[in-house]
């Protein structure tokens, strides 16, 4: 009944390899997100600094987290395609 029952076992390594890549990227993002929340909690003064053309660090970090999510997502998609492509050969 579940698709996993009838999927051929030879696909397994690719699946777990992409899962490993996903996990690595996940922890990278957790570090960014957690670091940002730590800044908000413990160093709010730092977020008022304006190193980027007059825009403060609070806005820059927020935009950065949104862009980082998209960049990591694209990296993951490409990496999975490479890994799965290799296993099908």
């Amino acid at each position: 009944m579940t698709p996993s029952d009838d999927s051929p076992p030879r696909c397994e390594p690719a699946v777990s390899r992409s899962a490993r890549i996903g996990f690595g990227l996940f922890w990278i993002y957790v570090a960014c997100y957690g670091g940002f929340i730590a800044l908000v909690l413990f160093a709010p003064g730092l977020l008022s600094a304006r190193p980027f053309g007059g825009v403060n660090l609070a806005i820059a970090c927020g935009l950065g987290l949104i862009v980082a999510a998209l960049v990591l997502a694209v990296v993951y998609m490409v990496a999975c395609r490479v890994v799965e492509g290799a296993s099908h050969d």
Binding site: P3, P44, R50, G54, V55, A58, L65, A69, L70
Partner: protein
């Protein structure tokens, strides 16, 4: 404030509803299988599915709520955006592929794929229904609240209109039409937010000219509303607020910056002086008086954290924990929301699931960046209603022209359609596929499964309309928070441990889902926020140290799962019962 009824808004909205309902009938004209009804035959193109993710996820709370929060409190509204988007990282990197690989129609399928246990299906179906209904109530009440100022129709009309339209959409072609409605809504929302942002940047920052005298709104004991002592009418109403008092010194005496780039806009805003209007309430024999008085503040003070989450600046530990707890629930909740998860069954394989999540992240991320500009644009538009932060985005549009106001109003209202159809679909699957078919084990043909799902959808549509009217006068915005917290506490521990810990037993899953759901529910019912906003009791009477339960109940879900799994016999194998 009172609003002019916009015939154009009603016409645009009617055209939208009629075309999506028409599209649903067109898509539903073919005889349907259960696979078609619940999962759109798994044939939705990944790009369409990705945009539909945005249409499903970006509720009225995202569009109107975040815009309003940024317009009223500054940066803190953006913290919600950051948390809402971060949740998609969990969805993509941890949840997407296993969910697609293990499941068929519903989230319970995936969670139960190893054990085939009725207990798991029952627990997960109940948590799906609880989360979906808690998410549904604010959407329906919001529809009613929006229709009053935007289209000039009574509250109940808004609720019934949304309820009937959504039920028709879901019943005609299930997941197929739901997907297309969400696709259309998602694209319109992002596109028009983009148009508005371009107009904001093109206008630049302009010094406001309105009066800065305090305004008083009084609600007399008999319900009449007075403004500055005289009865409220369209000619005598609160003045719109939200202006710039002074531009940065580098602009000299100029009253306008002229067109600005996005980065320049943010930078100029930080150096500008902005007038915000804080309300102060006071009650006496003549009624409840709310005084709105202006405060001039430096833009850089509004663009840093702490405007809404006061605890960030006061240093109170409980307030800080509350904030962390909220950010954790937003991070973990997205990937556990049933109406989001079922969208993984509409694409053909795991690669498509992945690609559609990336498209979803791009669309939702773009939307949140645009919302920052919309919120800040509204803050300085001189068009804000001091009594309602939810009206910030439509009123911002009105500060440009009335056609744009009509379009944004209609889009705000149709935003509700996309999200509600996803929620009804998730609930319909939980009732028909999980409860009737798998828990009660009533044998059904393929055709009967579809009919059962449609009956469940009609039932849920009626329940949604009733709740939308019943909860009209309640403050319901906190229910979305409940839904995220319950989803994260009940569903995420079970899902993650099932995937990554082979020792997980079915008793562990059932216990984690049940305890996570009940603990987060109980915590919220006893929290200071609920005491104040729902029961009308003093905050101090609450039993809980902070209001958002996620920080405690998500780890609790994991702990319960581990302890119960270790206390129960090791699962014999993939097919163990």
């Amino acid at each position: 404030m009172l609003y002019e009824t916009s015939l154009a808004a009603i016409a645009i909205f009617a055209a939208f509803v009629l075309s999506v309902v028409g599209l649903s009938f067109y898509l539903g004209r073919k005889a349907q299988s259960a696979q078609g009804y619940y999962a759109a035959h798994g044939e939705i193109h990944w790009f369409v599915n990705g945009i539909a993710f945005a249409g499903d996820y970006l509720s009225a709370a995202s569009f109107l709520g975040i815009c309003g929060m940024i317009a009223f409190y500054g940066y803190d509204g953006f913290l919600y955006s950051i948390g809402f988007l971060a949740g998609w990282i969990v969805a993509l990197f941890v949840i997407a592929e296993p969910i697609k690989k293990l499941g068929k129609f519903t989230f319970a399928d995936a969670l139960d794929s190893r054990f085939h246990s009725r207990g798991i299906k029952l627990a997960v179906a109940i948590s799906t229904l609880v989360v979906s209904i808690f998410y549904l109530i604010p959407q329906m009440v919001g529809a009613g609240d929006l229709i009053v100022p935007l289209l000039g129709l009574p509250h109940a009309v808004g609720v019934i209109l949304v309820g009937v339209a959504v039920t028709l959409i879901v019943v005609t072609a299930g997941m197929v039409s739901t997907t297309w409605v969400q696709f259309i809504k998602g694209s319109l929302l992002v596109f028009f937010c983009g148009v508005l942002t371009v107009m904001i940047l093109n206008r630049g920052l302009v010094v406001g000219t309105g009066s800065l005298a305090p305004q008083v709104r009084t609600v007399a004991p008999d319900g009449t509303v007075l403004v500055d002592g005289a009865p409220q009418s369209k000619s005598h109403d609160l003045r719109p607020v939200g202006t710039i008092a002074a531009l940065p010194a580098r602009y000299g005496d100029a009253i306008s910056t002229g067109p600005l780039g996005p980065w320049e806009y943010l930078s100029a805003l930080e150096d500008s002086r902005i007038v915000t209007w804080a309300p102060k309430k006071q009650t006496d024999a003549a009624g409840t008086h709310t005084t709105y008085s202006p405060t001039e503040r430096l833009g850089s003070d509004l663009l840093k954290p702490g405007g809404y989450f006061k605890g960030l600046t006061t240093g109170n530990l409980a307030d800080k924990l509350d904030f962390v707890s909220l950010m954790l629930a937003l991070f973990c909740g997205t990937a556990s929301l049933p109406h989001i998860l079922i969208r993984y069954y509409t694409v053909k394989d795991q690669a498509a699931a992945r690609k559609s999540t990336v498209v979803g992240i791009a669309a939702i991320g773009a939307f949140y960046v645009l919302t920052l500009f919309l919120g800040l644009g509204a803050m300085t538009s001189g068009a804000l209603d001091p009594t309602s932060s939810n009206m910030a985005a439509p009123l911002l549009a009105k500060s440009f022209n009335t056609t744009l106001f009509a379009i944004i109003s209609a889009i705000a209202f149709t935003t509700v359609l996309g999200t509600v159809s996803g929620l009804i679909m998730a609930g319909s699957g939980a009732v028909a596929h999980d409860l009737v078919e798998n828990v009660l084990r009533i044998p059904m043909t393929d055709h009967e499964k579809v009919r059962c799902g449609k009956i469940a959808a009609v039932g849920l549509g009626i329940v949604a309309m009733a709740l939308g009217i019943l909860f009209r006068n309640f403050n319901v915005s906190f229910l979305v928070g409940w839904a995220f917290n319950i989803a994260a506490s009940a569903n995420l521990p079970a899902l993650v441990m099932l995937l990554f810990w082979p020792r997980t037993t079915k008793e562990g899953i059932i216990a984690a889902v049940t305890v996570g759901m009940l603990a987060s529910l109980g915590w919220i019912l006893l929290s200071a926020d609920t005491f104040e906003k729902v029961y009308g009791l003093p905050r101090d009477a609450s039993w809980m140290p902070f209001s958002q339960p996620g920080l405690v109940t998500i780890p609790l879900g994991f702990l319960v799962l581990v302890v119960v799994s270790l206390l129960t016999p090791r699962p014999a194998g993939a097919e163990a019962r």
